[in-house]
Amino acid sequence: MIALVAAPFGLKPYGIYLLSLWVVMTIAAIGLNLMLGYAGQISLAQGAFVGIGAYAAALLTTSGWPLWMAFLLAIALSLAIGWLLGYPALRVQHHYLAFVTLSFATLVFLMLRNEEWLTKGVYGISGIPRPTLFGWAAKAPIAFYFFCLGILTLVSLATWWLVRSPWGRAFTALRENPIRADSLGVDTRRYTLMAFAIGSALGGISGVLYAPLVQFIEPTAFNLNLSLNLLLMVMVGGSGYFLGPFLGAAVSVLLPEWARFGSDALYLIMYAIAVMVLMAFCPSGLLGLAHRVLKR
């Protein structure tokens, strides 16, 4: 934790940007981990919710509204849409559900790209301002990083509470054995919808932070690749582990940049091979690997 607070002080602006990006992606990954790792629901649409949050923030703040309103709007939208997205999950499972969420994600991308009257389409929205909090302007890279870190802390605490509560237990039951859970009185339908709603809302929150971070957004950033990337983060970090998203996002965001210093051309190839090898030897991700090693 201390490392996170101290980290940005030695770095150049690009390094601070990467750290902030890691924070933002972690929030979205936490949401996906909640859906997938805890409640056992696959969603390939998390990237779309990041996009919804980002556009909500961009549109509101460039028209002069404060960022906290964007948070409210993004959370409300993501909760509602996420809840609706949960309905297919009541009918189908696993790869079918993955395809439905995948379709949804692509539809959102298409709408972002085509509805130029609202989103300015492929031209994107630029000049997204950073927030001012009670007079403190979170404009400089380091200041904004701390703002993001603060949000991440809040999100982490809330998620920790959720996971340790009876709801968390119900989610685990939903993941491991929905039929048995049902017969014990667990309203699997409601919990499934809740998992989708909350997980997607975290995606929306992540988007609201993403927009002022990069200050220029356009639809391609939120296409299927982002959703797949987030899925990769959750799996590589360790699905179902609380710290999994933190680790996974670090791997996905920071590792390729790090490796770039080693070998300019091949860093992506090495990253790809590393991911494949990890999945072959330890599908429960890096934290799963650590768990296995520590148990001995």
Binding site: P166, W167, A170, T172, E176, L184, G185, V186, D187
Partner: protein, 247 residues
């Protein structure tokens, strides 16, 4: 007094196969009713129809006079009906204690109340008592997946009782349990039956278990009831002997 469970003309067909073919019976409060019959006679299907996992093709089910045909399993559980499954179903990643808390938590307060309330939903002591009662104390903090089959079976049965149900349907509770544990299981079931005034319906293949535990026995063959009575009466009934040995 109303019987706890009433089943009327229940039928379930899968395509052309009539798994359950017009079954009717009552279960009175406090009874331990045994349901036996050769393989394929429709016992599990009957359970699944009563308990909402399957929708019956015909017939009616009432609990305490209230129609429950086609209700979802979680609604039934809220009405005070519990069950165990033939295929063992505990939650392997949760500890024994957590499994038990889960089994009862949905009856405590409301969904939102549970979110902001205590971590164990107020069931910590009840879970501990259940663990004691079923002699699982040494395993309380173990992940359920690491228990032996027999121990998981005990946990399974314990879970069915956490919510203090009025009616419990047990699907082959003795299956795969070794003989030493079997006697213990039977005693536990008898004690709970007396303590909680709970009514049981038990599917079993283990004749000795059924005969020594149940107060009344129904015999199912090819989807129909062919005999009914006390364990001794049923055991002597020639129709029953033929169903098991003949054909």
């Amino acid at each position: 007094m109303n019987p706890v469970l009433e089943v009327r003309d229940l039928a379930k067909a899968f395509g052309g196969i009539r798994a359950v073919n017009g079954v009717s019976f009552d279960v009175r409060e406090g009874e331990i009713l045994g349901l036996i019959g050769p393989n394929g006679s429709g016992k599990s299907t009957l359970f699944n129809c009563i308990l909402g996992q399957l929708a019956p093709s015909a017939g009616e089910v009432r609990i305490d006079g209230r129609g429950i045909t086609g209700m979802r399993p979680c609604q039934l559980n809220r009405l005070g009906v519990g069950r165990t499954f033939q295929l063992l179903q505990v939650f392997p990643q949760l500890t024994v204690r957590e499994n038990l808390i889960l089994a009862g938590q949905e009856h405590q307060k409301s969904m939102w109340g549970r979110l902001i309330g205590r971590r164990d939903a107020g069931l910590g002591e009840a879970a501990d008592r259940m663990i004691e009662f079923f002699r699982l104390s040494a395993l309380a903090q173990e992940k359920a997946g690491s228990l032996s089959y027999g121990q998981q079976k005990l946990l399974d049965v314990a879970m069915a009782f956490m919510a203090g149900p009025r009616l419990v349907l047990l699907d082959e509770p003795a299956g795969g349990v070794n003989p030493t544990m079997l006697a213990g299981l039977r005693e536990r079931l008898r004690e709970i039956n007396a303590m909680q005034r709970a009514t049981f319906v038990v599917i079993e293949h283990n004749m000795e278990f059924v005969m020594s535990l149940c107060t009344r026995v129904l015999v199912l063959a090819e989807g129909r009831i062919i005999s009914e009575g006390t364990p001794e009466e049923v055991r002597a009934d020639p129709k029953v002997i033929e169903a098991y040995l003949g054909g």
